[in-house]
């Protein structure tokens, strides 16, 4: 048509583009080959710098070229004076900016920038910080930039309170950002530590205050700041309850203090001439410097974990030299020293007694309540209230339900048991993909409650039948239990940890789906195992039982194994001590 602008057709454009690409490729390949041959010949000159620059500006992810560039720069450092080096590195930073524009998430570029910044004779950290800010404002989850920024902050000693303001700003513009929440969780304990001394890092000059390393500090935050954080994070999860990042931060806020490392129980048995020691966390007793003193005499003993599978375990046992405590008329005093910590625990075995122990119970340690927090109950109570309000508005929100459960556990695990179970039921329905996780978590809580009940009743019988258990845990807390009833649950195995039940005499586990008895291993006092209606199907499954010397009664009715021919004779061979076998 008249006057119309003529435009190249698509075919023409394509063809031109193809030619263009070919031309580019040729240049690229030629430059690359030139670089490689120069590097091979050990040439570190300006031309090589230019060539690599040319290549890297179109492809900043070419790690070999960055390496070559670093070689050249390091060489230049040796031949130029400081001002020239400064200039070269400044040019390098400028070049890197253009690479970051090509690919803001290039590993090579960010790594190289860190390298250059660290070598720059007179670094301009303020400029680097503002570069990070600009990058993060374009993509607030660019973890390369987060990493680099952390380095810049560390090198330049930015005060912690400034950094906290920085997270305020980022969270304010978009709170779906794990990086900023997490960063906050590392800053708060530094700025507002739990300890009573007043915080002062903001007043110190930046040079003299490299942020104290987190290891030397508690990870807890003072209560006043905690309350502010609760408010902040509530604003986030009320605004968008489906956003995980806020909930995870909230979990951290509610999180408990680290448990003190200690020996929580020492048990001694005269019959077996054996000592069992339980720790507050899994340890490797062979390497932590454990020392057993019997009546003032250090003993040379060999510590072993309850199951060969464990290098680290909360329970360790050792056999005393034969005859040392076998005389029932003697009284003995035992001390176990944990020389590394250092801490120790005494235990007296009185005349006429066959066994003795000394321990902190789970109730003493507030072990399960502190799963969430050791903060004031009133604070937790008001947190529970807000979550309940949210739950009223969003009855099907899984994060809210889960948090309510955790808060209830922290406040009163037994008192809220019924509500907790109901919430678990809802959780399994609304988030069926994770129903197994919820079942396991629920099992854990039910076991904790049962332990508490057992301890309040001051008995050594642990009974938790018909509670839909899918897993077993906290078995180190059951070291002293003589009788366990796990009937009518959904257990599939008695795991290796089960071997921590060193005092167990009777094991009831009818009506489960148990296939494996791996943990019924070297239980010195075990006499009776009831396993009706389970899924034991081969003789090999029963193999571990052979290590239990006192086993007399075994009920295997309703298991597939009973269908095997000549099973009786095979069992008699495997378990000669069993006198009463029910098939």
């Amino acid at each position: 048509m008249h006057g119309r602008v003529k435009i190249k057709s698509t075919a023409q454009q394509e063809e031109e583009k193809r030619k263009e690409r070919e031309k580019k490729l040729k240049i690229y390949v030629a430059a690359r080959d030139a670089c490689f041959s120069k590097r091979k010949d050990g040439v570190w000159d300006d031309e090589a710098l230019q060539l690599t620059q040319q290549l890297l500006s179109s492809n900043p992810d070419f790690a070999t070229l960055w390496n070559y560039r670093r070689e050249i720069l390091m060489h230049l450092e040796t031949v130029k004076d400081e001002d020239e080096v400064q200039k070269i590195y400044e040019a390098e930073l400028f070049f890197l900016e253009s690479c970051l524009k090509v690919n803001p998430k290039s590993y090579g570029s960010w790594h190289h920038r860190g390298w250059v910044s660290a070598r720059l004779p007179r670094p301009d950290w303020a400029r680097e910080l503002s570069l990070c800010d600009r990058c993060l404002s374009l993509d607030d989850r660019n973890f390369h930039c987060w990493d680099y920024r952390r380095m810049v902050v560390k090198m330049s000693g930015v005060p912690v309170d400034k950094e906290l303001e920085f997270t305020d700003r980022l969270i304010g513009s978009n709170f779906s950002n794990y990086s900023s929440w997490h960063y906050r969780s590392t800053l708060l304990p530094l700025l507002h530590p739990e300890s009573p001394e007043p915080p002062s890092p903001s007043r110190e000059p930046p040079q003299s205050s490299p942020p104290p390393s987190p290891q030397t500090h508690s990870h807890r935050v003072c209560e006043e700041q905690l309350l502010k954080e609760y408010e902040l994070v509530q604003n986030a999860f009320f605004t968008d309850p489906n956003d995980q990042s806020a909930w995870f931060y909230y979990r951290w806020l509610l999180g408990r203090a680290e448990r003190e490392e200690m020996i929580s129980c020492v048990y001694v048995s005269r019959d077996e001439e054996r000592v069992a020691v339980a720790f507050s966390r899994p340890v490797n007793a062979q390497s932590v410097g454990l020392l057993l003193v019997l009546d003032g005499q250090p003993q040379r003993v060999e510590w072993r974990s309850v199951h060969p599978r464990f290098k680290h375990s909360p329970v360790w046992i050792c056999d005393l030299p034969p005859g040392t405590i076998s005389d029932i008329t003697n009284e003995h005093n035992l001390t176990v020293h944990w020389t590394e910590k250092p801490t120790h625990r005494d235990c007296a075995l009185y005349t006429g007694r066959n066994e003795s122990w000394c321990r902190d119970s789970a109730t003493d340690q507030e072990l399960f309540r502190s799963e969430l927090s050791v903060e004031k109950t009133s604070v937790l109570q008001s947190e529970l209230q807000s979550c309940n309000q949210l739950q009223e508005l969003e009855p099907l929100n899984k994060w809210c339900l889960l948090t309510i459960i955790l808060l209830m556990r922290a406040l009163d695990p037994l008192g809220y048991e019924k509500e907790t179970l109901a919430h678990f039921q809802t959780l399994k329905e609304v988030d069926s993909m994770r129903s197994a996780y919820y079942s396991d978590l629920c099992s854990k809580f039910m076991i904790e409650n049962t332990i508490l009940k057992m301890e309040y009743a001051e008995v050594r019988v642990f009974s938790i039948s018909d509670k839909n258990l899918t897993t077993l845990c906290h078995l180190d807390q059951l070291l002293l239990v003589t009788h366990i009833n796990l009937s009518s649950n959904q257990l599939q195995r008695l795991p290796p940890q089960f071997a921590m039940l060193q005092c167990l005499e009777v094991l009831e586990a009818d009506n489960n789906s148990i296939e494996s008895l791996e943990g019924v291993y070297h239980l010195p006092k075990l006499e009776e195992i009831l396993l009706r209606n389970n899924k034991i199907s081969t003789l090999a499954d029963l193999q571990p039982l052979a290590s239990c010397p006192k086993l007399k009664r075994l009920d295997l009715r309703g298991n597939p194994i009973t269908q095997t021919s000549s099973i009786e004779s095979q069992l008699a061979e495997l378990l000669p001590s069993v006198t009463e076998l029910l098939l």
Binding site: V5, Q13, L138, T239, L393
Partner: protein, 647 residues
Amino acid sequence: MAAEDLPSEFDVIILGTGLCESVVAAACSRVGQRVLHLDRQSYYASNWASFTFNGLLTWIQEQQAESQPDEVQDWSGQVEEGEDLIYLSQSDSSSISNLQVFCYTSEEDEEDDTPNTTEEEKGGGASEATEAADSNKEDEEETEKQEAEEQVAQDEGAEPEADQPCPSADPNQSEPVKKKKISLAQLVKEGRRFNIDLVSKLMYSRGSLVDLLIKSNVSRYAEFKNVSRILTYRQGKVEQVPCSRADVFASRQLSVIEKRKLMRFLTSCVEETEDQQAYNGRPYLEFLSDQQLGENLQHFLLYSIAMATEDTPTEVGLASTRHFLRCLGRYGNTPFLFPVYGLGEIPQCFCRMCAVFGGIYCLRHSVRCLLVDKDTNRCKAVIDSRGQRISCNHFVVEEGYVDAERKQTATPTRCVSRAVLITDGSVLPSDSDQQVSMVTIPPVEAELPSVRMVELCSSTMTCMPGTYLVHLTCQSVGSAYEDLSPLVTRMFHTTESSDQEERPSVLWCLYFNMVDGSGLEVEGHDLPSNMYLCSGPDGALGHDHTIKQAELIFQKILPEEDFCPPAPNPEDIIYDGENGNGNSAEGEELKDDELKDDEEPKEQEEELTEQEKEIKEQEEEIKEQEEEKEEEQGLESEKGQGLETEE
């Protein structure tokens, strides 16, 4: 300019450079039509124009001047056989009325010998005259103080024009040093920093204008800023309306429960439900109150997000809520964009597009009459203001050029009430003094309409640093002054305000009414069949009405053609000689007509280029300053942004 004749033949002649006409011009030119685009004014964009402060003062004078009676000339000599003559109206002052100007600051920096209130015009009564006198008194006092301060400053050898408060001017002075008001003289001196729009609109980030700017690539000619916050006026206080997720999170005035309810409402109303349909025809307010949202949220949702009134039906309220939400987050935390240098840029951008594709522009050039074929009722040609006969196939004209008796408009005539304020502070000060705010204001008194207010900061390049440009708009009930001044008195400090509250002061303000362009009917005009009427600005916030109208007109002119397809990249355009060898003869032949990108036809365009040069110089100067500033701000530099199709 030498009075050189225009070509005698065009495909489309367009009269008026308002938004609608300019879009039609760009669309026609883009697909190869020969376009002649005229405007009788010396500026672009008709009633859509933006003026510098001085330009606005001139415009005010023009509006107040008695319109000249049409000098009727006899053009019958040019009429050919079988043709009728239709005369066009030669003035359009009728679209602006009730113009009133108030100045609340001193005329000059130091002396105070002239009355401050340059209130002129019919509406001004005795009461206002006394107010003016009051304001004089106050200003006198203030100026005295200023003089004293300056005296001290000079004694100390400081720069007299330093506008920071003078340190320890008077030890006996107990009250804090008052910030010195910017004088009228300063406003005039800095007048070029202002770009004051006659129309106050915002661009919905998913509205038809933004879509068109992106689709046509016209967006490359302009820059845009996000409206940075939505405010509302409630119980005598200005509050921020939390509308995005980040706002809701950060809001201090909402409880966490309200936050949840608001977020839930906003997410749920995106989908249409049966529950909502049950409310069709019933007020949106009723629907909202049944959602148990509480009064706070109800206010935000009704007035600020749906921008509705108490009797807006539910389906309308929901539709505009959805539109608001769809626009949210495309370019920022509010649904709106504002063009840097003012809304008057937008029609000019389309004109530029038209010119790039060969359209010819003449300002201060009009059409006197049309020559209409009696048999076909088609406009065959026009006679321009110089008496030249120019043939055309289509004639597009802004309605203001057409006599009232020939067009169909809604009766009674609908009007928009406007106020333009230059103030010295934001209605809601915040950390940043560079906020662009949209303020929704429900009726402050019974009988008064609800008002839309847009507060622009200096980084939008519409006002000088240290000032804010405030546009108020509402559907007229009475005159602009009657409709808007009660609100101005409440929200700002003027001489009429009684109390001493901390509020921004109005330095200067203008009230006027403009005819609401949406009153023009689509059909039923007594006009030739190839003549198309474009309406002036309508009262709505967005531009949908105008863009839709422009597209409709284009489709009538060229039913087969694509409306504003993307302009090609400059590198894809084939220029003469580029593929020359084979078909040189043809190439020669086409040469004269062949269009070159960005090489605009020169002679007829002198007016445009001269004016443009001037504008460009100004712009460049301002832009340089802006860039400097942005460099200082560092982070901010990403924010002035172009439109992109990607998000």
